[in-house]
Assembly symmetry: D2
Homo-oligomer: 143 residues x 4
């Protein structure tokens, strides 16, 4: 987590639980998305604007390790950072903690690429230099 | 249920349960959609084709009464029928039974209208006479 | 909305949209739940505690009218109030507005009852007098 | 896929799509669960019975690669196999194809362990020898 980004908080909803009395594992993948879009918004690139500029950012892959179950009534804190970027593809990593940042519940990552509206890959260096600068800066910063 | 339509079966999934050990109530609204789209497909109007022809069918309203909870491991049978139609708006009614059609678990209805791709209301009598005929026939049949 | 309750805000998530480019209608039923549980928490009856005290509050019915679609990138404001209560059953009503409280997007209600852990109906006047007092007070206040 | 197991078919539902006009990536994680539970049922170990016998099978990890998006109106075929097992933990692998088994849309795996109802790890060799035999046989068969 770079020092200038706020972590994202998610309050567990009842509809996110399953009959094992814990949060269903598919919801963490959704929380990754929530945290990723909050991160982009904090970086002044709200995803609705990215799509309005003609770019799509699909998910190419996801991996997630569940360490300690999360329950209804809890709030989690999600730390997000961009860990790889090559101008076309990037990786985002996530760590899900309890609200007090004491216990690591879950960690994972998602892989993405930039597409145009015809679903063709787009190198963003020329097409979206501001986004390119930001991602490049983040990667250097996170090393 | 008119005699010529097969009921729709849905097998309860683990991810549809909640910590009360029953199916979360929001899923029945999704099952209504599953059953409605299956019904249209049986009627030879698959929804993907309806959208491809330029019509959208949003949901204007929904109501649902939960009589007896459904559990993981069960399969439900859903009966669907079109109960109102005026050329623009229509109502679909649903009854959710156990697999053996002995116990009524849930009943409800959804209200819809036809829109064009600019989200403007469309009377389908001229624009989609085959759909109009079908809906009109069903209403007469169900009286 | 009684003057002493904060409205509940929900930020629309990407995973809540569907291919009609709007929020899928089943999610409003989940937002009702979010708002209802927030309301109980504001009233100092967090739902996790209610269940820990041995009460379940299933949903007996739901109805919802969709007036104006909600889109990704928007935040909605949900007003919640208890509109009926007889010691066993109660009704909660919801109005979903845009963030600035200018446009009514959706309205609806849910019906509930109190059950014990064997799923038997419970009149809460003796078993949970604090909850009984609160609900009764709210109903009088909302008249 | 061992020769004696039927693949699992899932018909894409409208509520599984998102505003990118494709199936939201979190749903594939749910489809893995559907296919896994169908697999166990085919093996005569329906999951509801496994839980009734006192075992829980939580998900410890998941990974998924999205190769080609799936759309509304399509039906997918999911092949499932147990690829690792050590008496306590096991891995299940999935391949999601189009209905005609021509195009690989998605592949992934999930990691699991056996727990008792107090959420303690359970070696199943003695506690559930039939399940142990089955899993062991499958692993040998899949080599």
């Amino acid at each position: 987590m770079t020092e200038d980004m706020r972590p994202y908080y998610h309050k567990v909803q009842y509809y996110e639980t399953d009959m094992m009395q814990i949060v269903h594992h598919s919801n963490y993948i959704r929380w990754f998305e929530e945290a990723r879009l909050d991160y982009l918004e904090q970086a002044h690139f709200p995803y609705a604007e990215i799509e309005a500029r003609g770019f799509l950012i699909p998910v190419l892959g996801v991996e997630c390790q569940y360490r300690k179950a999360v329950h209804f009534g809890e709030t989690v804190l999600i730390e997000t950072e961009i860990t790889k970027f090559n101008g076309l593809k990037f990786t985002v990593s996530y760590q899900i903690y309890d609200k007090e940042h004491q216990v690591l519940h879950t960690q994972g990552s998602t892989k993405h690429c930039f597409l145009d509206q015809e679903f063709r890959p787009v190198f963003i260096k020329r097409k979206a230099p501001d986004l390119y600068e930001y991602f490049t800066h983040k990667i250097l910063h996170n090393r």
